[in-house]
Amino acid sequence: MGGYRRISAPDQPRSARMQNNNKNSSEPLVRIRGLIFKRGQRAIFDNVDIDIRRGGITAIMGPSGCGKTTLLRLIGGQLKPLSGSVRVDGIEVPRLSRRALMNLRKRMGMLFQSGALLTDLNVFENVAFPLREHTPLPEAVIRDLVLMKLEAVGLRGARGLMAAQLSGGMARRVALARAIALEPMMIMYDEPFTGQDPISMGVLVRLIKSLNEALGITSVIVSHDIQETVSIADYVYILSAGKIVGQGTPAELAGTNSQWVRQFMQALSDGPVRFHYPAPSITEDLQL
């Protein structure tokens, strides 16, 4: 019924959400402190602190395999940290019961790298899926809501297509429409620009920005597409080897002296992140 109340009176939750997501609000929507997470012996996060500001676009960037997607899964409660605090809207996520976690997730959206559309459903049914699962809305209202969400991403005309008939960019736009179906307080984007042609990339960049502004949604973008992400982000964290190696507004990062940040932002092949995987010397290996 919680979902029903949100959807049945969209003006009320939206105004409340806009208030919650007020960019001047001092309390961040996501507050991570002392996060430690390991896979086997390898530390993915080693005492990491991150704040995601309400109503803003925060980018989490870093080289492949540095744990960007893992961070989203920790925020969404799909993974539990070894230690540390992950608070979303004041709620300690790792300590939530399953039911409470599900209730929190109704207020979050996530755009997966692949889109993760349900392949046995068409575009319309994919966007309608969370509405059907969480609200008792009549079919006519669901239809209107779905068409409005699809209109927002420019795919109202594709409502009858199956997931397999969509291009990668279209699939992500449909997934975006599905992610905003329940009008969440935040959306997490997992590598939204990877593998996109320039037109699709431009469309996605504009959509993320416009949805963030129009709906007052807090956005978290995990990406290593520097130009596109920095062009819309309010604040950027750069992760490497389990630590935050740089943070700030895009302008601050552009003027930084940090070797890590410069290597990443300028896409340099060698630097603190070595070009060569650790190995014995070439002369030793070739027995010269």
Partner: protein, 263 residues
């Protein structure tokens, strides 16, 4: 020599622990999915769609196999019985063989190959393409929304498929024995009617197919859900479904037969 023996023991122990750990996870999975039945029973359309996918789409192989198995039974049974002048007992032999054993067992083996492997591949692919993760992030429990209707559909479909297999087998045996080989039509049906008991034979056969339905569908769904999210992982999981389900069906058949028909 000692080191080699110890190494072998170590590997055996590791394999045993791993098998027990998987069995434990599978059991937790099964119990959790069963917990979703009350919710899913209120959404009949989900169950009907899955009965169509696992049951109706398995009909062709079940129908064809049932007819041929019945025909073979009719032919082999006639050739044996005629030597003893007991060819009129063909109906009894065909019906008891089908209802007690071949109906539930062969149907379960065919079901594991057709529907079981499809279920594993479907769930494995949903996991690999992050569809199950996406559901979780949409606050929808995939174990209840995706797995539970499929398990329920398998449990409902198996006894029906086994019944269809047995009925068609009886007619297959009738075609060969009566139409082609000249066994008396009345004797075929009356011997069957006189000896096949509703409770001892038919109900026990239904119970067998019900148990096989649970086990095969459970194995198929767990293998899909537990698969490594790669194409190789799905391939291995699908193979394991067919092998493990078949072994489980044959093993359980012996246990159930011993419990049901031991005099």
């Amino acid at each position: 020599m000692t080191a080699a023996f110890l190494g072998m023991l170590q590997r055996l122990g590791r394999w045993g622990l791993s098998a027990l750990e998987r069995l434990g996870r599978g059991t937790v999975f099964f119990v959790y999915v069963i917990g979703g039945f009350p919710e899913i029973l209120r959404r009949g359309r989900l169950i009907v769609a899955q009965i169509y996918a696992v049951g109706a789409l398995s009909l062709v192989i079940i129908v064809v196999s049932g007819i041929f198995v019945g025909m073979v039974l009719g032919l082999q049974g006639y050739n044996t019985l005629v030597d003893f002048g007991a060819s009129e007992s063909l109906g009894e032999l065909v019906a008891l063989s089908l209802v007690r054993e071949l109906g539930p067992v062969v149907t379960a083996l065919l079901y594991a190959g057709r529907a079981g492997s499809a279920l594993t591949a479907e769930i494995g692919l949903m996991k690999t393409t992050e569809q199950l993760s996406a559901m979780e992030m949409m606050a929808v429990d995939p174990l209840h929304r995706v797995i539970a209707p499929r398990l329920l559909a398998g449990i409902i479909s198996m006894p029906l498929l086994a019944a269809i297999f047995s009925i068609l087998g009886v007619y297959g045996g009738h075609f060969v024995g009566v139409t082609l080989l000249g066994v008396d039509d009345g004797a075929y049906w009356s011997q069957m009617q006189a000896t096949v008991d509703w409770y001892d034979d038919i109900l026990n056969g239904v119970i067998k197919s019900f148990v096989f339905g649970i086990v095969v569908t459970w194995i198929a769904l767990f293998e899909g859900y537990d698969t490594a999210p790669t194409s190789e992982g799905i391939s291995r999981a699908t193979t394991r479904t067919v092998v493990n389900s078949s072994l489980a069906v044959l093993g359980l058949d012996f246990v159930l037969t011993a419990l049901m028909f031991n005099k």
